[in-house]
């Protein structure tokens, strides 16, 4: 059992508070993604779990063992760095075997484990090459291989795909997902890319300013965001947030929740209709054709801007006035503090 439990974690660098009381339960074998904007503390949180940084307050348990004072190498974790951190003067074989060598694993066992990991990651032919002789994707695989050979209880990934081009990123994403399926080991993955988070995670942890904004499955976060920040961070393009009085124009609702200050609706949930009475009207200011769909930028009558995903063949021209509608179930209401008003609360 290798679950990870964070209890009241805080981290300060001098007077700067980077992590402000994080509580989190990660189950055995779970793939958890920390996601959030730059500077939200997600990489710091990962380094705290690894032991590369000391916590200022709180407790970290890995596999039911309190590891606050345990050295990084004794925590049973392996980390894949954003830069890969492959030692440039060592071959792929030596890079992968470095940890085993310093732990004095016998050479025969070392070679067996390197061979095993190399076979898993299709690195057999590259074992005697130096990192400079590898492509970005190959380096990424070596970095993962180096993590695998130590048979860690928990894998930590710190934005491992951010240095790859878009095509390779998609490919490596699927390889990491396959690896998780094969190894069934607890994995904690940091990214600022919400598509990566959505596609890989069993559970997503959304962070902002060192605090957890919401924890849940990708579907939960997409369908029931806890606040405006999560609502706009998860989903691409981001959710439109409009004044609550726009809601009756968008959908036929029994009533708008009394505490609602704003209403959110995703671009993919908006339908373009004729701009008659009783619908949300606006003028198209930009059409971005992406192939599968067109992204319409609409300036609403009330002065707000709105994004619409439009999948019809005939698109409205720039300057044309259109009406917008949505299903009532796809509207998200938020109070004055930006917190979501629960569905049950606004249905009554």
């Amino acid at each position: 059992m290798t679950n990870v439990f964070l209890k009241g974690i805080e981290k300060r660098f001098g007077s700067v508070e980077v992590i402000r009381g994080v509580d989190l339960q990660i189950d055995d074998g779970e793939f958890v993604v920390f996601v959030g904007p730059s500077g939200c503390g997600k990489s710091t949180l990962l380094r705290l779990i690894s032991g590369l940084e000391h916590i200022s307050a709180g407790d970290i348990y890995i596999g039911d063992r309190l590891v606050n004072e345990v050295q990084p190498a004794q925590r049973g974790v392996a980390m894949v760095f954003q830069s890969y951190a492959l030692y440039p003067h060592l071959t792929v074989r030596d890079n992968m075997g470095f940890g085993l060598k310093v732990r004095k694993v016998p050479p025969a066992e070392r070679q067996r484990r390197i061979g095993e990991a190399a076979a898993t990651l299709k690195l057999d032919a590259l074992l005697d090459r130096y990192p400079r002789e590898l492509s970005g994707g190959q380096r990424q695989r070596v970095a993962i291989g180096r993590a695998i050979v130590g048979h860690p209880d928990v894998f930590l990934f710190d934005e491992p795909l951010s240095n790859l081009d878009a095509e390779l990123r998609v490919h490596m994403r699927s390889e990491i997902a396959a690896l998780h399926k094969r190894l069934a080991t607890t994995m904690i993955y940091v990214t600022h890319d919400q598509i990566e988070a959505m596609t890989l995670a069993d559970k997503i942890v959304v962070l902002r300013d060192g605090r957890v904004e919401q924890v849940g499955s990708p579907r939960t976060l997409y369908e029931n965001p806890a606040n405006i920040f999560v609502a706009q961070f998860i989903g691409s393009p981001k959710m439109n947030v409009l004044p609550a009085d726009a809601a009756p124009l968008l959908a036929a609702l029994p009533a708008t929740p009394p505490s609602a200050e704003s209403v959110g609706v995703r671009p993919e949930h908006l339908t373009v209709v004729s701009p008659g009475e009783g619908v949300l009207r606006g003028e198209v200011t930009l059409c971005e054709y992406t192939g599968a769909v067109t992204l319409l930028h609409v300036a609403l009558d009330g002065g707000h801007d709105c994004l619409v995903i439009y999948d019809e063949r005939e698109m409205p021209g720039v300057g044309s006035v259109i009406g917008l509608r949505a299903e009532g179930q796809n509207l998200h209401f938020f109070n004055q503090h930006g917190q979501a008003i629960l569905a049950s609360a606004h249905s009554t």
Binding site: S50, P72, A78, F81, A85, Y87, F98, R103
Partner: protein, 283 residues
Amino acid sequence: MEAWLFVSPSAIGFLIFFLGPLCAVVYFSMTEWNLLTQQAAFVGLANFKNALLENPDFWHVVRNSVIFALGLVPLNMALALTLALALSRPFFGVVFFRTVFFAPVVTSAIAWAIVWKFLLQGEGGFINQMLAIVGISGPNWLREPNWAMAAVIVTRVIKMVGLNMILYIAALQAIPRDYEAAARLEGASRWQIFRMIIWPLLAPTTLIIMVITTIGSFKVFDHIYQMTGGGPENGTLVLAFYIYQQGFKFFNIGYASALAMIMFVIVMMLTIVQVMLRRKGAE
């Protein structure tokens, strides 16, 4: 034509101040030219033969230069690396310490030597007075042949170590911190991280430092001139100072030029050997 005009200031400077004197030294080395009489006679390789085969002073001087280099280079590099390791990471006061260790590099070599000459005086010297407090009777540092060489080596190291320290600090700071983090996660001790990661990655810098320090040690002049004048008993008479003596004290310009050519070849060969050894090590 325009291109030639653009490079001409630099090219003219190169010809007058570098290539010209170099050719002149090659020519002088094959002449018997006395500055006082202004008489120059072509003697072929006689000056080289004199230095290498006939004059016993030459090999004594070479021996001194080698001892000086063997003492200075490892000591300088070890101290520079130790200081760089201590001062490469930020902490309160790090800039002050870096400045303290670098300041002697930009201090006048003559002034530095004069100060140390006073500090290292026999009975009245500051160093010996300090040693006397703890019951040690210090030698007359600059008057005893063995101690004189040690004294000029150590004071030269203290003066020049700051430069190599800065080079090592720059190299250490260029090593990504993730390497150390990855190695720590894999269970490497601090010593293992240094030995297996940091030291190999410092190899190019170490080579450069080794080459420039070796060359510098063979060219040392001002320090010897001021502190010992080559003595006692020619115990610190090194090649550059010997060339100066021959050229500007005894006015044997031809012989001095031949010595300069020999020094050039020695330094070049040492550099080539060091580069080849490092390349072999890297393979």
